[in-house]
Subunit: 321 residues, 2 copies
Amino acid sequence: MKSFAQISSLFEEKFNRNHFPAEPAKLYQAAQYVLGIGGKRVRPACVLMTNELFAEINEDTFHVAMAVELFHNFTLVHDDIMDKAPIRRGLPTVHEKFGESTAILAGDVLFAQAYDYLMRIKPVFLQPVLRIFTKTAKEVCEGQQLDMDFEQKSDINMDEYVQMITLKTSVLLAASMQLGAILGGAGAGNQDQLYEFGKYLGIAFQVQDDYLDTFGDPQKFGKQIGGDILCNKKTFLWLYAMEVASAGQKDQLLELSKNDDPKKVEKVTAIYKMCEVDAWATSLKKKYLEKALFHLDEVAVQKVYKEELNKIALHLMQRES
Amino acid sequence: MKSFAQISSLFEEKFNRNHFPAEPAKLYQAAQYVLGIGGKRVRPACVLMTNELFAEINEDTFHVAMAVELFHNFTLVHDDIMDKAPIRRGLPTVHEKFGESTAILAGDVLFAQAYDYLMRIKPVFLQPVLRIFTKTAKEVCEGQQLDMDFEQKSDINMDEYVQMITLKTSVLLAASMQLGAILGGAGAGNQDQLYEFGKYLGIAFQVQDDYLDTFGDPQKFGKQIGGDILCNKKTFLWLYAMEVASAGQKDQLLELSKNDDPKKVEKVTAIYKMCEVDAWATSLKKKYLEKALFHLDEVAVQKVYKEELNKIALHLMQRES
């Protein structure tokens, strides 16, 4: 079994090229640009890794891995427009660089190009792969809509937040795991276990994301610490604090979320610490990671084959940026 | 063979229902809303009609026809955002009614739902259908980008305009014809002839569109006459006028395109008439219609079966709105 690093470099070899024709130049430069911004390519690596649990990696696996990565980038482009985000990974977002109209279209062609790769796989796999991919695509849109809805709502509970996060970010990781398994010839039971593994790993990943945004090491985090607090994002941390804080602390948090106190990040973080939000988030992450690993454990292949997936799960949880 | 009216009502029976789940309400209400704005459903009708040239209409044909109509509506939603259009068929556009972010997402789920219908067809047809559909989807995005590029360019020639129109509007009609043929079991030759029939018919349709916008009967047209002139759109009429007008007329046209003369529509139309743009447009439409009908004629099925497609072509050309 190949390590995550080996798998990633295999994928990059195939993926690092222009996926589009030359003309119309503006459209395809915009689509290619977002792919160049990079990222860890975690999802396509998972397609390849779960495939390798059951069979040799082949051309079909790469096609599906590329489709997943193109789809992920399509969602980034459209989400950045909706969030009016000017910067991604230190570079201007597509709509900042190419204008909003071209960014909408560039997202659209990335989505279409994902299907272009999918349709190349062996006919026997085509229908099941399309079914999962398309279901997941709709779910990710639903998650983004819920995220926008939640910005306008004050009374979101933890279950609703987990549901939103699952749709917005976890199902694509889950689907990546399942798609690799399908292409490897895995049965329905193993496919489901790998889907659940990816789903819970995705949620744990998001808990970690929320945690690092407030409690990360500024030297290692790479972004400004406290970004979520500054823009009043409802995160795992915020929702838990609102559950356990005293009436006075709650009033303070709500007050801080309504104004632009120059010490807002410090003050909110201090209340979080008094409420032990940091310890709670760490234990929540651990809970979801354990759920994920339980499902990986249930996959009916020899333990030794699953070690790399186990490692990548632990690695993703220990990241500091 | 069924008439266009019969085919349309068959299609509406299947299509007039909610294509989406209830939640998230805002997202799916937006996606369903644009479908309710209506339209002539010309493209799905063509899928059904070319299918009937070769075989009985069946469930697969309806799936593909629905996919084509959903895709068409996806492009309307995103194009309306890019064009900042407030009204479509007398009703507020999706972004006007639901906000721009939800409109972007609603377009995305319409696109995904198109693939949801496509993936249900018999495996033997899946790969060829996906190939044409996805190629066409990318071409339509290219056409929209070219259309936006042309707004910023002053030196567009007629060939470039025809190329843009072909991508932006004709290839979807062409693909609809071909997809129906594929599902009917037609061979590659007949598929190609029907594709060309749809392509030239689409161009003729656009010439008619441009003509009616300036020379249509205000009582019948349904929109304000002169809309293209008011917003300085480069149309077939404008490009031809710029080719044949005298130096003085050209200066006048360019001057009028730069200001907001209250008599702009009257003045531009008068120059068009002096240049005989109206007669030229009528003959150009006829030329493309003849090209279209030539390819229909080449389709190797008995003439009597092709009569309804012939009729719909003539009908589309005689419309006054």
